[in-house]
């Protein structure tokens, strides 16, 4: 336990404190920069890379290959090389189908290119041309899933906002949580766009799961904030901002631990996925989740809590208390500690 628990103690008592609320301008600037980068970055790169299910594309299926290599990678390399010999920028994706079949997905090709690629594949895998079927996939499934994903996103946001407002008995927590959630989704998507990861239906599943996780994390921290700010009451020696900041510090160890624990299994999928499987459902889900969990944990602390504090600080009661406290402190000559929150004018 040692160091980390001691660290936790200090955070709990306030012996050690990070000014999450106090330095919020810095965090807002960081958030703004990241959001702008997430919007501009993918645009500079030329937009998001969508999987074949979204953009449509050509698909080749080679069946009954007699001498198919046992090694998946070798087959992939051969197929990729074959396709790229014919059409340089076809960006083929190869999967094995059964024991003796291969599926190659490419960009949508012209008719001439399609027959050329089919012939090349037949030659490369030593099968009669009749065993290579060529077809192309319409983008309608991707459109289907996009429509329902967006619908699910909107409905969830509305419902979650209502549920949180009811649970916390203040809409301001809801607003702060939703803002940080939107922040998470934009940045996760941005990371995808900037690094050029392919957006597949599986990645979309990951995105949607982030919604639940990000809010889960925020609710846990907000629960502690509510507890602190309610318990402190009028006789508190802390300003509202300081109460919020203390709560965030007190839950910091928990935030780190839950974040790490949530990310570990996802990281394991990612590692196995990247090392063994190549692209696929597991890797795609894990990738967006992994990014989302890290950002979701970060944003609760650095975005959601400061925003909530800011939303409440200007309420007349709280403002009055803050002024009174600061005045008392000044009189007593107590140096302001814990969190320096600029009293709102």
């Amino acid at each position: 336990m040692g160091g980390f628990a001691k660290f936790g103690n200090d955070l709990y008592t306030g012996a050690r404190s990070f000014a999450f609320v106090g330095n919020r301008r810095i965090w807002y600037i960081i958030a703004a920069v990241m959001i702008i980068a997430s919007v501009v970055g993918p645009a500079i790169r030329g937009g998001f890379v969508f999987g074949i299910e979204f953009r449509g594309g050509s698909e080749f299926q080679v069946s009954e290959i007699a001498n198919l290599d046992d090694d998946l990678i070798a087959n992939q390399d051969l197929a990729t090389a074959t396709v790229e010999d014919v059409v340089a920028d076809a960006s083929p994706r190869v999967t094995t189908v059964g024991n003796d079949g291969l599926r190659v997905q490419t960009e949508q090709l012209t008719n001439d290119e399609t027959s050329a690629v089919a012939d090349a594949l037949a030659e490369a895998f030593d099968v009669p041309p009749t065993q290579v079927t060529a077809s192309f996939i319409g983008p309608s499934w991707g459109a289907d899933i996009t429509t329902s994903a967006i619908r699910a996103l909107v409905v969830f946001l509305v419902l979650a906002a209502i549920v949180m407002a009811l649970y916390f008995r203040t809409w301001k927590m809801s607003v702060a949580a939703i803002i940080s959630l939107v922040h998470d989704v934009i940045i996760t998507a941005g990371v995808y766009g900037i690094l050029g990861f392919e957006i597949t239906p599986s990645a979309v599943i990951g995105f949607l799961t982030i919604l639940g996780y990000s809010l889960y994390d925020t609710v846990v921290v907000f629960d502690k904030i509510r507890e602190n700010t309610t318990e402190d009451g009028d006789n508190s020696t802390r300003t509202f901002a300081e109460s919020v900041n203390l709560a965030v510090n007190q839950t910091l160890v928990r935030s780190i631990n839950t974040g790490v624990v949530a990310a570990l299994p996802v990281g394991a999928i990612l590692f196995i996925g990247a090392a063994v499987l190549g692209a696929g459902t597991l890797r795609d889900i894990a990738l967006s989740l992994f990014i989302g969990i890290l950002i979701g944990t970060y944003s609760t602390i650095f975005v959601a809590a400061p925003i909530y504090s800011q939303l409440r600080e200007n309420e007349p009661d709280i403002l009055k208390r803050t002024k009174r406290l600061l005045a008392t402190r000044e009189k007593a000559g107590t140096p302001a500690v814990v969190a320096t929150s600029e009293p709102a004018n």
């Binding site: 336990m1 040692g2 628990a5 936790g8 103690n9 709990y12 008592t13 306030g14 012996a15 404190s17 189908v97 059964g98 024991n99 079949g101 077809s135 192309f136 996939i137 319409g138 309608s140 499934w141 289907d144 979650a160 549920v163 949180m164 649970y167 239906p201 599986s202 979309v204 599943i205 949607l208 799961t209 919604l211 639940g212 809010l215 889960y216 609710v219 846990v220 629960d223 020696t237 839950t251 631990n257 839950t258 790490v260 624990v261 949530a262 299994p265 996802v266 394991a268 999928i269 590692f271 196995i272 063994v276 499987l277 696929g280 459902t281 597991l282 894990a286 007593a332 500690v337 814990v338």
Partner: protein
């Protein structure tokens, strides 16, 4: 020593948990013993392999199908597949005239039939009908053609153009000698053969009803099935609005259909009841599914078909009418079975990834929480057992199939489940830091943690439910897995983790606050020094932030004492034991 209340409660919770697990295993065992279950969940297409069917739109030359029509066809086929209880079927369009249906496992004949019969629905007038001959032509009966258009007649030498131009769809002039010959030789068994009857809409059709008991010559299509906007089954009412107890099917046509149906019934009703031409046939995929006679001229586009239907038959017919209304006819172009080799290697990798994730979580928990980490491990194992049996039972009862996305959901759930333990442990530590003894820290920590966990998990569950209801394809499998594990997580925390901690709190080793317990009060900076020792009242100042916090923790009596002693918040007395 008499058992204290928390201990009693703890044992009661654990007993309930045992009952729950025993019940799950019992249900599963009963399923294996008496129903057709097994001890493993059914797998989806991507893990098990499965059947992929490519349907091709049947178009006449020069006709094209719009993307919109194809999309409508996909949604109709999806409804049908879903209605047959197959989950995670993936239905996509391919190219500009194909629909691909991917079904996990090897679907039964009924399901296949339902998907394949997704052809066009049409209303044709009956020209001639009789009981089907049962004379089997034998195995070589295939020589009798299954494409009974007049141009492809069994006896091409016979005249296949009408002698007189037919004046309407019910005109007997449609029956050419060739058609009559085909009708005579038509064997209803051929209907089950590949390529069911598809005659052009403006030509007559020879066919049988779906049970193979009657055969028909039908006139050209007069009303297309796509004009049906709804069809329902229900009890037939008489003119007084009183139920007659008989089942019927109610159809609602759109405006085009209403107009056409008015014309048809006007003409057919004119033939008089009892005449063959009074009947019209509802043809689905070239097969007559119903051939009612016309009792009235129906002008409002809301006909009712009544007869000696059972409730089941009425519902089936209504479904056929509603879902059968595809804008275009489809034919199975290819149907292939996808091998499970790739799936099983993916499943294997998934399981390995899960195992690695689990071990990492274990290691991290031990590092952070020492022996409490053991509670995490045990809780996760309990959660895993419950999850497994719930998934197996759902797989057999609700048609759930474990897909790769579902596997990912389960693995992700490992971390999400351990989350709630961490929230709880941290709460206990907070209470210990506040100076409580272990037993009361566990109780107080639980009260606060439970509220947090339930609220947070509620949000998680909400997202899973919304995803499940609104999303398509394998998103649903993932959402379902995540939702189920979220509920199980809460159950495990309540019925296992908390009771175990209640019991451990009374354990000597744990309450001694040994370093290895993860609840060492010294390490946590608690003011108590174990159960038997008391904290000396301290006067603390606000030299540091810690002082402030300690100030908050002073009892009222202590605070008053401090005030009497004249100390104020800025006193420099450091009351902390060094």
């Amino acid at each position: 020593m008499a058992r204290t209340t928390p201990v009693k409660k703890a044992w009661r919770s654990l007993a309930w948990l045992a009952v729950l697990i025993a019940a799950l295993i019992g249900i599963n065992g009963a399923g294996v013993a008496w129903a057709d279950w097994s001890w493993t969940p059914k797998l989806a297409l991507d893990l098990e392999g499965g059947t992929q069917i490519i349907l091709e739109a049947q178009l006449e030359d020069g006709q094209t199908v719009s993307g919109e029509q194809l999309a409508q066809a996909v949604s109709i086929i999806r409804q049908r597949v879903d209605a047959s209880g197959v989950s995670e079927a993936e239905i996509t369009t391919q190219g500009d005239r194909n629909v691909v249906v991917s079904i996990p496992g090897t679907p039964d004949d009924a399901t296949l039939q339902r998907i394949q019969s997704s052809a066009k629905l049409e209303f044709r007038p009956v020209l001639r009908t009789e009981a089907a001959t049962t004379a089997a032509v034998g195995d070589d009966g295939a020589t009798a053609t299954a494409t009974p258009t007049p141009t492809d007649s069994a006896s091409p030498s016979l005249e296949s153009t009408p002698t007189a131009s037919p004046t309407n769809a019910s005109d007997e002039s449609w029956i050419t000698p060739a058609l009559a010959d085909q009708y005579t030789n038509f064997d209803c068994a051929q209907l089950d053969a590949e390529g069911a009857n598809v005659a052009p809409a403006d030509e007559p059709l020879v066919t049988c009803d779906s049970t193979g008991t009657s055969k028909f010559i039908l006139g050209p299509t007069e009303v297309a099935g796509s004009t049906i906007s709804d069809a329902t089954s229900g009890l037939v009412m008489n003119s007084q609005g009183v139920s007659t107890g008989a089942w019927g099917v109610n159809i609602v046509f759109d405006s085009t259909g209403t107009e056409q149906f008015t014309d048809v019934t006007t003409r057919l009703y004119g033939y008089g009841v009892g005449v063959v031409q009074n009947q019209f046939a509802i043809v689905l995929d070239g097969r007559v599914i119903s051939a009612p006679s016309t009792n009235a001229i129906i002008t409002d586009g809301k006909p009712q078909i009544s007869g000696s239907f059972t409730q089941e038959e009425a519902k089936t017919l209504a479904d056929q009418l509603k879902f059968g209304a595809l804008p275009i006819g489809f034919e199975v172009q290819s149907s292939e079975v996808i091998s499970a080799t790739l799936g099983s290697s993916q499943l294997q990798s998934g399981l390995i990834a899960g195992l690695i994730g689990l071990i990492l979580v274990f290691i991290y928990s031990f590092f952070q929480y020492r022996l409490l980490g053991m509670v995490t491990v045990a809780s996760l194992v309990v959660a895993a057992v419950i999850t497994y049996f719930v998934l197996v039972i759902m797989s057999w009862r609700e048609g759930y199939r474990l897909s790769l996305a579902g596997v990912a959901g389960v693995i992700v759930a490992i971390g999400f489940t351990a989350d709630s333990f961490i929230v709880y442990f941290e709460r206990i530590r907070d209470e210990l830091r506040d100076g409580r003894a272990l037993v009361s820290a566990v109780e107080a920590g639980w009260k606060r943690a439970l509220r947090t966990v339930v609220a947070a998990k509620g949000i998680n569950l909400l997202s899973a439910v919304v995803l499940f209801i609104l999303a398509v394809g394998n998103v649903r499998g993932f959402a379902l897995t995540l939702g189920v594990t979220t509920i199980i997580d809460v159950i495990v925390v309540v019925l296992f983790t908390h009771p175990v901690l209640q019991l451990l709190a009374t354990n000597k080793f744990f309450s001694s606050g040994h370093k290895a317990t993860g609840l060492d009060p010294n390490g946590l900076g608690a003011v108590y020094r174990g159960r038997a020792q008391f904290r000396t009242p301290t006067l603390v100042g606000a030299k540091s932030g810690a002082g402030k916090e300690a100030l908050r923790r002073q009892t009222i009596a202590e605070r008053k004492a401090a005030e009497r002693a004249g100390t104020s918040t800025d006193s420099n007395v450091d009351g902390k034991d060094s």
